[in-house]
Symmetry: C2
Subunit: 158 residues, 2 copies
């Protein structure tokens, strides 16, 4: 994927955290490739497609997931229940939705989200479409963003 | 999701296994809802979007993944390496692609696939969009298909 395509996703994380969660966020260094082991046990996953194909993964600790869900639901969450899982999917949905709104030239639409849980789970991308990976420090704690994105010309030629 | 929307996915599994893997498959009973614990440690995940939003999960044992990869790559695979992971993503891609071709009224396109690994991982769908779940017995072994699918009118009203 091209580095320029990551920017709408970086902005989307910052703006979602700021607007929806009232939390500041600061991004760390971009890296290309598949880190295999997610650091955290919860991953929100959502696909984008149209004249490009993408996949967004937000990887969170239980603590960050519960804090984010508490803000979104306006009710303190103290364990990983269906509401917290739904909130993580919704967070992925909001981030993908905002990025989509900046990538208008690709006529993207977004899939249903899914949320993976499990200590030590790995989410892998196709080895010919390695994702860009970006850690964030936020007021709610750390999170890890991964985005795979390929324009239709590239996908068709792959 | 509506039961009628699962049929293109059921046909897509059967036809992908038959055409691409030279394997017969037989579907078991349909159930609605989220079984939480996947039975198997490998899940291929791919999104669909357009005038509907979907997510397809194929859940496989290591054995089925290696056998499928061996067929696709025309080379015996004996461990879960990048090639096998890529093959599982490609399998999800082929199944979603065939289903998409039958669901033309929704102008669907498909996202990048991702593949989750990890004993005991769970893939959860939004609780207001529970997936339809279908076990398959195939010549390569058992697999488990889950499909979430919501038409745009439903999604907009959600």
């Amino acid at each position: 994927m091209k580095v320029e395509h990551i920017n709408p996703f970086l902005k989307a994380v910052a703006s979602t955290f700021s607007t929806m969660l009232g939390a500041k966020s600061k991004r760390g260094e971009l890296s290309l490739g598949d880190p295999r082991k997610r650091k955290f046990p919860i991953s929100g996953i959502i696909g984008l497609s149209g004249e490009a194909s993408g996949m967004v993964v937000i990887n969170l600790s239980e603590e960050v997931a519960m804090k984010a869900a508490s803000k979104l639901l306006m009710e303190e969450q103290t364990k990983i229940n269906d509401d917290v899982i739904d909130a993580v999917g919704e967070l992925a949905n909001m981030i993908a939705g905002q990025a989509k709104a900046e990538l208008t030239e690709y006529n993207l639409s977004i899939s249903l989200p899914s949320v993976v849980t499990g200590e030590g789970h790995e989410v892998r991308f196709p080895s010919n479409n390695p994702p860009l990976c970006v850690p964030f420090e936020t007021d709610l704690g750390p999170l890890f963003l991964e985005v795979g994105f390929e324009t239709a010309e590239v996908a068709a030629g792959a």
